[in-house]
């Protein structure tokens, strides 16, 4: 019985976290944020050197062949720094999808994912509720339609897209008939695009109409990753709030000696800390208890979504006016948590999915 990190896992987590904290400083983040996510090439290189892009890539393809649990540790570390790199789609979702696709694709792409050479955009939003005017349909190995909120999609070399609830396809970036349209969100540390396809050649990664379980697994993995990202960002916001409260004086006292401020910090800590175990369990379930994975991913995403919102707001409030400006760089984390909440199903939606998984729907 070991509910915690192994030595290797701790090492991995520490090494990425240390790199994030020394590389993605407040100043660097400010500069990168102003330039937008696609300016992050040196960061990708740095992370790839640490092996962060190859966590889920099998050793045979140049990765370290670890599991979702380790990937989630990396994601948490990236969230701690609101690191502007296209990691989640490229290095977490794509390798999971390629693991069971045609081996030619895997051979072609996985080594380049591990080395940080390529970007893969992933579009699964439809699975978390189809909005009007979107949807992809397949005919003769060609895809047509519109896919919105393709994660890490700016300048991607290839795309992994859900077509309805049961099909997953791979599309080469060069094959696009219309260029990807950037979708600016509050969070400038990640890129999202919209793709419009008109009979674009694609490679199915699942047997036609039979990919439901694979897609559900991918969606769940994405949800746990986003929860971990928000957890990391929330940790940083809490730490900064506690630190700031002990520096900043008002009425001749550090504000951290006011009971109201202390209690806000205590509430954040009490809410946030147990999320770690929930996220760990959900990630662990992916391999250890696959029958629980989807539901636990919903719980992690929904609960972390609510706690994240509370922490983002409260940590800003503890900072007072300055937390509301660009000055402290706190807003990067506020917005990162805000986007994590909405992507791949926000808490309301994810709980709806959980109700369905539990068989409660009418």
């Amino acid at each position: 019985m070991e509910f915690g990190l192994s030595e290797e896992q701790q090492l991995l987590s520490d090494s990425i976290t240390r790199w994030v904290q020394s590389t993605v400083t407040r100043e660097r983040l400010q500069q990168l944020g102003d330039e937008g996510e696609t300016a992050s090439a040196p960061l990708i290189e740095g992370l790839a050197e640490l092996g962060a892009f190859g966590v889920l890539v099998p050793e045979a393809h140049g990765g370290s062949g670890l599991g979702l649990f380790e990937a989630v540790l990396v994601q948490e570390a990236l969230g701690r720094g609101a690191v502007p790199v296209p990691w989640t789609a490229t290095a977490l979702l794509a390798p999971l999808a390629l693991a069971e696709g045609p081996s030619t694709l895997a051979e072609q792409w996985l080594p380049r994912i591990a080395s940080g050479e390529v970007r893969i955009g992933v579009g699964l939003s439809e699975l978390a509720g189809a909005r009007a005017g979107t949807g992809l349909h397949l005919e003769h190995e060609q895809a047509s339609g519109t896919v919105r909120f393709v994660l890490d999609g700016a300048g991607a070399d290839a795309y992994l897209l859900a077509a309805g609830p049961d099909d997953l396809v791979w599309i080469d970036g060069d094959a696009l008939s219309t260029p990807a349209i950037p979708l600016a969100t509050i969070d400038r540390t990640r890129s999202l695009v919209e793709l419009t396809l008109d009979r674009v050649p694609c490679t199915p990664l699942t047997e036609a109409g039979m990919g439901g379980a694979r897609l559900a697994h991918l969606l769940a993995a994405g949800r746990v990753a986003l929860a971990a990202d928000a957890f990391g960002a929330g940790q940083t916001m809490l730490e900064r709030a506690v630190a700031y409260a002990q520096e900043r004086k008002q009425f001749d006292r550090v504000i951290g000696s006011f009971q109201a401020v202390k209690h806000l910090c205590a509430e954040m800590a009490a809410e946030l800390e147990p999320c770690r175990a929930l996220i760990w369990y959900a990630a662990h379930a992916a391999d250890a208890y696959p029958q629980e994975f989807e539901l636990m991913a919903c719980h992690a995403k929904a609960h972390m979504g609510e706690v994240g919102q509370f922490v983002a707001r409260t940590a800003t409030e503890v900072h007072g006016g300055i937390g509301f400006t660009h000055e402290m760089g706190l807003h990067w984390f506020f917005k990162r948590i805000g986007l994590d909440r909405q992507l791949l199903g926000n808490p309301d939606r994810v709980r709806q999915d959980a109700a369905r998984i539990n068989g409660w729907a009418a």
Binding site: A184, Q250, A260, G320, G321, T325, Q342, D348
Partner: protein, 404 residues
């Protein structure tokens, strides 16, 4: 309880309606220049409103106001009718909302003569110089110094959260003129032309990504001592006159109800998996919870209005308005974002952006309002102390020992 208006007010309302119908061509023009200053249409509009008594109603005619008796109900009707057609209710900068009321209470006759008319007509634009990086909720900690030099003060220091500094002509500023006096004493309220050498205005970008505020750096800025309002060293009292006027400005319940009406429309328009969101019980439930809070604040506002008309002190009822109003607006925006889902996270110039990004910027800006003008934490101090009569926080021992 009788929410109907007497015939006199019905008449007033139809006059207002007629006026608006007549002046539609004017009020549909932009009220501000791109710089942020009142446009010529804005100034003309303001002049007409003063003439009608729709704004600056109680400011004496001798200073350029309408010179009428206060009539909250008439003002209420004006606000309702103007909101209905989306007409500006007049210029609303801090010069008009804060400086003029202060001057009327604390200024000399000469100061009133000099400043009020051009201010309310929009010819002179003011910004407020209270907050400093080290003194947010705590004005007594003010550090910007004003040292006597002949007939002048020489000002050095830094101000923050000055919202219109980059296009203002003048600033009403709090400076420390008596450094040795106890903290609340020794502050003076001074009128400072913004083109005085040594003033550097830098935009302050907030989390919304826009520069809604500025920082103002003051280096050896000279201003004649005659520019003090009220007694020298009494600026704390003078400023409190002004702060009182600011408190009323935040948390308009009509805004909350208007936002909720818009959200209801969104829920009808937006579909997920082909089904309108309004049919989803969880969204119905969340919308109704917010509507309940917003309606309570709306009717509470009417009750406060009646209290004012009767000259009663609404006590805790008035103190809670800012806390509840800003928290409610923040929660409403958060709900709209959730209803929109991933679309709700869009911002700036994104395609598919709804309502021009209003919900995200309101979500963030309302957090700024929760923090600004006395954070929710400070508001709770005020409610418990002034509203419920609970004791003030005891002074910490080391301070008392230090002899403050």
């Amino acid at each position: 309880m009788d929410l109907r208006l007497s015939a006199e007010y019905d008449l007033w309302r139809s006059e207002v309606k007629d006026f608006l119908a007549r002046e539609r061509d004017l009020y549909t023009q932009p009220m501000s220049d791109p710089s942020g200053r009142p446009s010529s249409a804005g100034r003309l509009w303001q002049e007409k409103l003063i003439e009608q008594g729709y704004t600056c109603r109680t400011i004496p005619a001798a200073y350029g106001g309408h010179g009428g008796q206060p009539d909250i109900l008439r003002s209420f009707i004006v606000a309702e009718e103007f909101n209905r057609v989306g007409a500006s209710t007049g210029l609303a900068n801090q010069g008009i909302s804060m400086f003029v009321p202060t001057l009327l209470e604390r200024g000399t006759e000469a100061q009133k003569q000099r400043w009020i008319r051009p201010t309310i007509r929009g010819e002179i634009v003011w910004c407020q110089g209270y907050s400093e990086p080290g003194a947010g909720s705590d004005l007594a900690n003010l550090r910007t110094s004003a040292v006597e030099d002949g007939d002048d003060f020489v000002i050095n220091g830094q101000k923050i959260w000055t919202s219109s500094a980059h296009f203002s002509d003048m600033m009403f500023i709090l400076v420390r003129t008596e450094p040795d006096a106890p903290k609340h004493k020794g502050i003076s309220y001074v009128l400072l032309p913004m083109d005085t050498p040594g003033i550097d205005v830098r935009p302050l970008k907030t989390m919304t990504g826009r520069a809604e505020f500025n920082e103002v750096f003051l280096t050896d800025v000279r201003v004649p001592k005659s520019q003090v309002v009220g007694e020298r060293g009494e600026g704390w009292l003078v400023a409190n006159t002004t702060l009182k006027h600011e408190r009323g400005m935040l948390g308009d319940p009509n805004q909350a109800n208007a936002m909720l009406a818009r959200i209801e429309a969104i829920l009808r328009e937006e579909t997920v998996d082909g089904r309108p969101l309004i049919e989803h019980p969880v969204f119905q439930d969340r919308l109704l919870r917010l509507q309940g809070r917003a309606l309570a604040m709306k009717f509470h506002g009417l009750r406060l209005l009646t209290s004012s008309l009767r000259g009663e002190d609404a006590g805790v009822g008035r103190l809670l308005v800012k806390l509840n109003g800003t928290e409610l607006n923040h929660d409403i925006a958060a709900f709209a974002i959730d209803a929109l889902g991933e679309i709700g996270a869009l911002y700036e110039d994104a395609p598919h952006l709804r309502d021009r990004g209003f919900w995200q910027s309101t979500h963030m800006f309302s957090l700024g309002l929760i923090i600004g003008g006395g954070t929710s934490q400070i508001q709770k101090n005020i409610i418990s102390e002034r509203g419920l009569g609970m004791p003030r926080e005891p002074k910490p021992a080391q301070l008392a020992a230090g002899g403050h």
